[in-house]
């Protein structure tokens, strides 16, 4: 049945009136300053067109103006919920350009800080997703755990949100002596919290029913639109850059890659690639990240935490791209050097940017109330879109 007919029979809007509704830029469930121009007929959307750019801070232009190490604090601002990944991606790109090998201890510190940051970012994502569709209670629970991670990361690198921790050639500080027991203690605590989280919201019948079969993104469509990370894996693609491209310390760890399997269950109308799969993949990824941090702490090597790096960072002319698995999927930095102290071009390819690109297509035929669930399930972060 064609969409228009469906609208008429199911919701009786009938007249085919198109109403244009602006959602945002200042709206609590758009996850930042984004505007959606919703073309709706009654309660059903014909499409929702995202308008982005409100948070454009010209970071790529700044990358051409400041020196190579000087750009590191700016990368934090690309994605403030998962700043470690932005640090790591940029550091890896410049290291690749200069041919620097970083010591194992630095690689482990990077992996530990990144995985803790991934948990923090996913907690915000799954917590705010529950809140966006009406379950307010879980969000403070998620925030509470995220606060502990912030404390841990503060003890590791001195900052709670914009870390500026990774350096070209390693990391800024070594782990403090009493940090490891603190982290172990928190990981043991967090295992229980994840079980509690499942009882609280993941297996809540109302919540699962609400998200089952909603805004399904089939795999070919996800690939075509360039979805990455948990969004792509929820559509059934077994692909994780940590597994496939073995960067950093990740080859040393044993972990699973959660992919979408219609977790909501066929009897509730669950389909691979629906909103619940995107939600639950993130919950499962938190478990894997806990396991990675634990393994990294157990195998933590000695040695230097910083490679020998020339005082003036001046890569030879050339270009390099680094790809890492950020909390929002593949983050790629493309750095071009002309042999000077400043980059000729810095490009950050982020997961949220193309996740927004799919919304116009994926929102067709959804109810207006479901748009919020779709945005939340794609886990877009406005500064990462706009850079």
């Amino acid at each position: 049945m064609a969409l228009d007919q469906l609208v008429m029979t199911k919701f009786g809007a009938g007249a085919g009136e198109e109403m244009i509704l602006n959602m945002g830029p200042q709206h609590p469930s758009t996850h930042g300053v984004i505007n959606f121009v919703v073309h709706a007929d009654g309660e059903v959307m014909k499409k929702a067109v995202p308008q982005v750019g409100y948070l454009h801070r010209a970071l790529e232009k700044i990358g051409e103006i400041v020196t190579y190490p000087g750009f590191m604090p700016y990368t934090d601002r690309i994605d403030y919920l998962a700043a470690m990944f932005a640090n790591e991606g940029y550091a890896l790109a410049v290291e690749k350009l200069m041919g620097i090998q970083i010591p194992p201890r630095a690689q482990y510190l990077r992996a530990i800080s990144c995985e803790l940051n991934r948990i923090a970012s996913h907690l915000i994502s799954i917590g705010s997703m529950a809140m966006d569709i009406g379950a307010v209670t879980p969000f403070p629970y998620a925030l509470r755990e995220r606060e502990s991670i912030n404390d841990l990361l503060e003890a590791l690198c001195g900052a709670r949100l914009t870390y500026n921790y990774h350096r070209i050639g390693g990391v800024a500080f070594d782990m403090a002596q009493d940090w490891m027991p603190l982290c172990h203690k928190w990981l043991d605590h967090f295992d229980r919290i994840l079980d509690e989280w499942d009882r609280l919201i993941s297996f809540n019948e109302i919540f699962v029913e609400r998200l089952a079969g909603l805004a399904v993104i089939p795999l070919p469509m996800a690939i075509d639109y360039g979805l990455v990370g948990p969004n792509l894996r929820a559509s059934g693609m077994d692909f994780d850059l940590r597994k496939v491209h073995h960067y950093g310390a990740y080859p040393d760890f044993d972990f699973k890659v959660p992919i979408g399997k219609a977790y909501a269950g066929a009897h509730r109308g669950g389909v691979v690639g629906d909103c619940f799969d995107r939600f639950y993949c993130r919950v499962l990824e938190c478990r894997e990240s806990v396991s990675i941090v634990r393994q990294a702490l157990n195998k933590f090597p000695g040695g230097e935490f910083m490679a020998k790096v020339p005082r003036k960072i001046k890569p030879e002319a050339g270009e390099a791209q680094s790809r890492i698995e950020s909390a929002r999927g593949e983050m790629a930095y493309y750095v071009v050097s002309d042999g000077g102290e400043r980059a000729y071009r810095v490009r950050a390819r982020t997961g949220s940017f193309l996740a927004m690109g799919i919304i116009e297509e994926a929102s067709k035929g959804l109810m207006i109330a479901d748009l919020v669930a779709l945005i939340a399930s794609l886990d877009v972060v406005a500064p990462e879109i706009d850079r």
Binding site: H56, D224, A332, R345, R347, R349, L354
Partner: protein, 207 residues
């Protein structure tokens, strides 16, 4: 099927398209080759459709500006999920009439990526379904990531320049030093002249 190396992919492409494929550039870290702009869409269809290549993922599409050579280079990063191999290609367009065929018909991801390149570099993609600015406002003048871009000084009467607050303090400082340096009776004309600019801004705002 196994992942192919850069050289192998380049060989396959050269065999198929001949002179439209440039030589493999031994760049310092990531190698790349150039595509002839006229046959870009055809080559991209081949990259996606050929079973041994199957580049189903347009990983990145961006550009670099080279005013000295009067060129903008559009950079394509292709990735294949089935084979897990990567290929990088560049297409050169003239800076003055920057125009290129859109690859949106091959990968939908190109829609937003090309809009971004249009917005920030001013490359027009022919055949694009929705070529609007994406990050900058629709009535913005200029393309900010071009190397010769200079700011217009404001946007819709919102100035992006301001008086440096340090100027006031510096002039006060100079004035103080001049007073201390000069002997008491010497009411030389120099300190009042220094004094003038410091008082000007308040006078302006008062008027």
């Amino acid at each position: 099927m196994p992942a192919l190396s850069f050289e192998n992919i380049h060989q396959i492409l050269t065999k198929q398209f001949g002179e439209a494929i440039g030589p493999l550039q031994p760049a310092k870290r990531d190698p790349f080759c150039t595509f002839a702009p006229a046959r870009l869409v055809e080559i991209c269809r081949f990259l996606k459709g050929q079973p041994e290549l199957s580049f189903d993922f347009l990983e990145d599409l961006t550009a670099t500006d080279h005013p000295k050579q009067n060129l903008i280079r559009i950079v394509y990063h292709f990735y294949s999920y089935p084979h897990r191999h990567l290929f990088i290609a560049k297409v050169e367009v003239n800076r003055q009439q920057a125009e290129l065929d859109s690859v949106e018909s091959v990968w939908k991801a190109a829609n937003w990526l090309e809009r971004e390149v249009y917005d920030l570099f001013g490359v027009r993609f022919t055949g694009h379904t929705d070529l609007r600015r994406i990050l900058m406002p629709d009535d913005w003048v200029g393309h900010p990531l071009r190397k010769d871009y200079s700011e217009a000084g404001g946007y819709r009467d919102i100035s992006n320049v301001r008086d440096n607050p340090l100027d006031l303090y510096l002039s006060m400082d100079r004035q103080l030093k001049a007073q201390q340096a000069a002997p008491e009776p010497a009411a030389s004309p120099a300190p009042p002249a220094e004094h003038q600019p410091a008082e000007k801004p308040p006078a302006k705002t008062g008027a």
